[in-house]
C-alpha cells in the first residue's frame, strides 16, 4: 500500500500567513476601504457646506456680488464624465486582449483629467473671489479644492497605469490588470464626487 503523505502546514514559526479570503482581492479591498474613508472626508466637507448655507446663512447664497461660472463648470463636468467612459473603455480593452484600446483609453483618461484640472485652476484664477472672502468662498474653495486634490492623486495613479500600459504590462486575466482596475475604481469615485459637488455647489 502506498505510504501516506502528511503535510500539516499549521505547525510553523513566526507570524501567521496572510489570509486570502473575503471573496475580493487585497488590492481592490484596499482601494475600497480607502474610498470609504474618503466618503467620510467629503461628508465632513458637505456637512460644513450645508451648515453654512442653511443654518448660518441669512442672506442669498452665494452672497451678492459673487457669481459662479456654471457654464464653464458644466463643460468641465462633461469632460470629467467622459474620462469615466475612456477608463472603462481601457478596462474593457485589456479584458478582451485589445492592448491598443487599453493604451489609448488610459492616455485619453489622463488627458481629460489633466484638462479638467487645468480648467479648474483657470476658474480659480478668474472667479473673482478667494477663500478668505466670506464663508461661501471658504467652503467653495474647500470643497472644490478637496476634489481637485483627488483628481491630482487620480492622475498620479493613472500616470503609473499609463507608463506600465505602454511598456507592455497588464493582461486579460483579472489578476494581471489590477494596475488598471484599481485606479479605474478610484477614478470613477472621483467622478461621482464631482457630479455631487457640481450639482450641489453650482446648480442648487
Amino acid at each position: 500500500m502506498e505510504s501516506a503523505t502528511v503535510a500539516a502546514d499549521h505547525a510553523h514559526h513566526g507570524p501567521p500567513e496572510a489570509n486570502q479570503s473575503s471573496r475580493i482581492d487585497r488590492q481592490t479591498l484596499g482601494i475600497l476601504l480607502f474610498i470609504v474613508s474618503e466618503i467620510m472626508l467629503f461628508g465632513a466637507f458637505f456637512a460644513s457646506y450645508f451648515f453654512l448655507r442653511v443654518v448660518a446663512n441669512d442672506g442669498p447664497w452665494p452672497p451678492e456680488g459673487l457669481e459662479l461660472p456654471v457654464a464653464v463648470a458644466g463643460v468641465n463636468t462633461a469632460i470629467l464624465i467622459s474620462s469615466s467612459f475612456t477608463v472603462h473603455w481601457a478596462l474593457e480593452g485589456v479584458r478582451r486582449g485589445n492592448r491598443r484600446a487599453m493604451q489609448f483609453g488610459l492616455a485619453a483618461t489622463w488627458l481629460l483629467g489633466a484638462t479638467f484640472l487645468f480648467i479648474q485652476i483657470n476658474e480659480y484664477i478668474h472667479i473673482g473671489f478667494s477663500a478668505r472672502d466670506t464663508a461661501f468662498g471658504s467652503i467653495f474653495y474647500g470643497l472644490t479644492g478637496l476634489h481637485g486634490a483627488h483628481v491630482f492623486v487620480g492622475l498620479v495613479l493613472l500616470s503609473f497605469a499609463n507608463i506600465r500600459g505602454w511598456r507592455g504590462h497588464f493582461g486579460p486575466k483579472a489578476k494581471d490588470h489590477l494596475g488598471v482596475e484599481v485606479p479605474g475604481i478610484y477614478w470613477h469615485f472621483v467622478d461621482v464626487m464631482w457630479i455631487i459637488v457640481f450639482t450641489t455647489v453650482y446648480i442648487l
Binding site: M1, A4, V6, N19, I81
Partner: protein, 218 residues
Amino acid sequence: MHNPLRSEADAFRLVVIVGVCAAVVIAAALVIDPVAGAIVLAVEIAAGAWLALRGSRGTLPRTAEVASAPDDVHRILVVANETVGGRALLDEIRARSRNGSAEILVVVPALTASALEHWSSDVDGALADAGRRLDASLGGMRGTGLRASGHVGDHHEPAAAIEDALRDFAADELIISTHPPARSRWLESGVVERAERDVPLPVTHVVVDLEAEGVERA
C-alpha cells in the same frame, strides 16, 4: 447587498446612474427652480435608499471559484472541526478515495468558543485545538494509506474557509462533516445548504456522532 465598488465595471455603472440622476436634478433646477431640483434630489435619494434596502434582503446567487489542475488526480476537500477525527468521516473518505489514489485536503476551521473571542482575535486556543485535532486525523488517515494533507483554517466562517481552500485546491468533490443536527452549530447556520448552493461540486454531508462512536474529543 451588492457592493457598488466591487469592480471597475460596477463603479462605472454607479457613475452612469449618478450622472443620469444628477442630469434630472440639474434640468429641474435650471428649467423650473433650484427648489424643484432639490425636491427631485430628495425623491431620488429616497428611491435610492429604498432600492438599496430592498437589495440588501438576502444575498445574490453566486458560485464559488474552484482551482483547476491539469492532471487526472481525484481530489477531495474535507471540511470538519470537532468531528474531524470521527470514524464515520474516515469511512466516508476511504470509500471515496478510489483505493487510496485520491488526494485529500483536510481543512479544520479554527472556531472560537464565542463571538467575543472571535472579534477580539483571541483565537490562539482555537488554533491550537484545531491543530491537535488535525494532527490526530491526518495520523488516522496515514494509517489507512490515504494521501492526505491539511491545514487549520484561520477563518471563523466555515463557508469562507471552504472558498479559500477551493481557490488553491482543485477539488472534485467536497465533504463536510458535522455533529448530529441537535448539537451542530454549522447545521444551525446552514453551512451545508450554503455549500450545496454556492459550490459547483458534489457535496457530501457526513454526520459524526462522537458520543456514539466513543471518540474522546480533543
